[in-house]
């Protein structure tokens, strides 16, 4: 830990009259798992979109590995090693699961790191899927993405990022919609990614599961940073309780 991978300084974005993100600053250190929580509409996903180039910020600056990436195109940011999953998964339904990974396997980043000698992309894709629990014996990697249950789709989404061998993966609500058993199959994957040296940002509503994983948590509320600290501290914070549960009206 220690090295600052990603710095977000004073980032703001308004959609019409709605101030989605207002003056948020944060730093991400190499090797940690940073949780970002907040009530619905607090600007979590917008923050991810701003950091990964899907939405251009009104003001502020994003620095990744010492390089200013503010306003850079999404595919360029992904090629630098800052990747993200999507909250609403849209795999390429008609393709089999492993064919879904052929697309990132053709990105400049993968081609560069494999020095052009990727060989058979199909078998590379199947190997990666097997690593994250697509049972090859049950021919799961060969099934069409549209026919897979949600737990597999979430992992497929993660695999799409892993293929790029990124520095950072931003997981946008990777637990949402999953059953307890599916979540407990995803958690070890995330822990393994951390051991492999990938830094994670997790946007989550499932606080109990998040707090098992996260080293540090940031709370957003109405687009602004409300609190920051380790999970225990944050939950004791009165402002955070008010944001989630509402304030008691004083007489």
């Amino acid at each position: 830990m220690g090295e600052e991978l990603l710095q977000i300084e004073n980032l703001s974005k308004a959609f019409g009259g709605v101030q989605a993100v207002l003056g948020v600053s944060l730093t991400l250190n190499r090797g940690e798992i940073l949780g970002i929580i907040g009530p619905n509409g607090s600007g979590k996903t917008t923050l991810v979109n701003l950091a990964t180039g899907f939405v251009k910020p009104d003001s502020g600056k994003v620095t990744f590995m010492g390089r200013d990436i503010t306003g850079l195109q999404p595919h360029k940011i992904a090629n630098l090693g800052l990747t993200r999953t999507f909250q609403i998964m849209r795999p390429y339904h008609s393709l089999s699961a492993f064919k879904n990974l052929i697309i990132p396997l053709n990105s400049p980043r993968v081609r560069r790191t494999s020095s052009g000698k990727l060989g058979d992309t199909d078998s590379v894709a199947i190997d990666i899927l097997e690593e994250i629990g697509f049972e090859r014996d049950a021919r799961v990697p060969y099934k069409t993405a549209g026919s897979l249950p949600l737990g597999y789709l979430k992992r497929l989404e993660l695999a799409r990022c892993i293929v790029l061998r990124p520095e950072v993966i931003i997981c946008d609500e990777i637990f949402s919609g999953l059953s307890m058993s599916e979540i407990s199959s995803v958690i070890p994957l995330l822990e393994k990614l951390q051991i492999d040296g990938i830094t994670l940002i997790m946007i989550e509503h499932r606080l109990r599961e998040l707090f098992r994983l996260a080293n540090r948590v940031i709370v957003l509320h109405f687009g602004q940073m409300l609190a920051e600290g380790d999970p225990g501290e944050v939950m004791e914070n009165q402002d955070v309780k008010d944001a989630y549960l509402g304030t008691e009206r004083s007489k």
């Binding site: 595919h75 992904a78 999507f86 849209r90 390429y92 064919k99 697309i103 990132p104 396997l105 790029l164």
Partner: protein, 336 residues
């Protein structure tokens, strides 16, 4: 009273499943299953010039041009997600470049056509490049605008022959070269496109069609890939245009006629979107049909529309999808 509900059950023929892998090479039956439909198509197209009379040979050449446009339209719409109504622009830019090279520099047609194919595709791609960010209907409308735009520029500036056009261009050596040139290009393009869409680049295009956000997040530059797709589709369209100007030995603003943008869509709907071969065959049916209906004058358009409406209502998936289904699957009625 109970009504007996029935539904059609469709199952892949076992031979289809067997021929999906290397296993197909184990017997003549399997190989024939794969080879015969392709052979019928190739032989059928190549034999056409031999059995047709003079007039219909010319129709065949025109149909070939529409077939190339339909193939390009189907490829862009179904495999890349770009509904491109710029067929007339492809024809026009290819035709004008080829014709002008011939008229001003005296290049022979067989040199003009390849140059115009590549140069026309480059021009078309450059023109469409700023619109590639648009999706769906918006891209369709803008691409439909460019041929009209080009016509008004030619008329207003009175360049490239203005409204009169340029006549007395060199024509192709003889009718056999005319016919087999276009048929050869169609067959080559058909198999090349089929191959291309199943390569990695084809998967990336399908990814862009299904979900361009995820492709961006995978570190792939979608604009670069869309540009490649448009260039490839424009290549065959511009070839058609260049060929057309040397087929009639004439170029003019009717090379930008709306027919070139519209008929390929009709051919694709009739033939079956996404099959690639369907739109080609659709063009080979629709073009002669509109010639046959020429005697009806203005009523021709009405009959033409009726045929299309018939297809949309009764066989919206197009005849090629139906034929492929009959070939690959068997059906039975099942009581539920």
């Amino acid at each position: 009273m109970t009504t007996e509900a029935r539904r059609k059950e469709r199952l892949d023929r076992s031979i289809k499943v067997r021929t999906e892998t290397l296993y197909a090479l184990t017997s003549w039956r399997e190989m024939g299953y794969l080879f015969v439909p392709r052979f019928v198509l190739i032989a059928g197209l190549l034999l056409l010039p031999l059995i047709l009379g003079m007039y219909w040979q010319r129709v065949l050449c025109t149909a070939g041009i529409y077939a190339l446009l339909a193939l390009g339209f189907d490829f862009l719409a179904e495999y890349v997600g770009l509904v491109c109504l710029g067929g007339a622009f492809f024809i026009g830019s290819g035709g004008y470049i080829s014709g002008l090279l011939n008229a001003h520099f005296g290049f022979p047609p067989l040199l003009c056509i390849p140059i115009a194919t590549v140069a026309g595709a480059a021009v078309s791609t450059l023109v469409l490049l700023p619109c590639l960010r648009l999706r769906g209907i918006y891209f369709a409308i803008i691409s439909f605008m460019f041929p009209l735009f080009a016509v008004y520029i030619i008329i207003a500036l009175n360049v490239f022959g203005g409204t009169e056009g340029i006549s007395a261009l060199d024509i192709l050596p003889n009718t056999w070269v005319e016919q087999y040139l276009i048929l050869g290009v169609i067959l080559f393009a058909l198999f090349a496109f089929r191959r291309l869409v199943s390569e990695d680049i084809g998967l990336i295009w399908r990814g862009i069609k299904d979900n361009d956000q995820a492709v961006k997040a995978s570190g792939v530059d979608i604009t670069a890939y869309k540009t490649k797709a448009v260039f490839i589709a424009a290549l065959i369209g511009c070839f058609g245009g260049a060929y057309l100007s040397h087929l009639y030995g004439w170029l003019g603003i009717s090379l930008f006629a709306m027919d070139f943008s519209i008929l390929p869509i009709a051919a694709s709907v009739m033939g079956g979107m996404g099959t690639l071969v369907g739109p080609v065959l659709g063009a080979f049916i629709l073009t002669p049909l509109s010639e046959l209906l020429r005697g009806f004058g203005q009523l021709r358009v009405v009959l033409y529309c009726l045929i299309l409406i018939g297809f949309i209502v009764y066989k919206p998936e197009g005849f090629m999808n139906v034929l492929q289904r009959k070939y690959h699957q068997f059906e039975r009625w099942e009581v539920v």
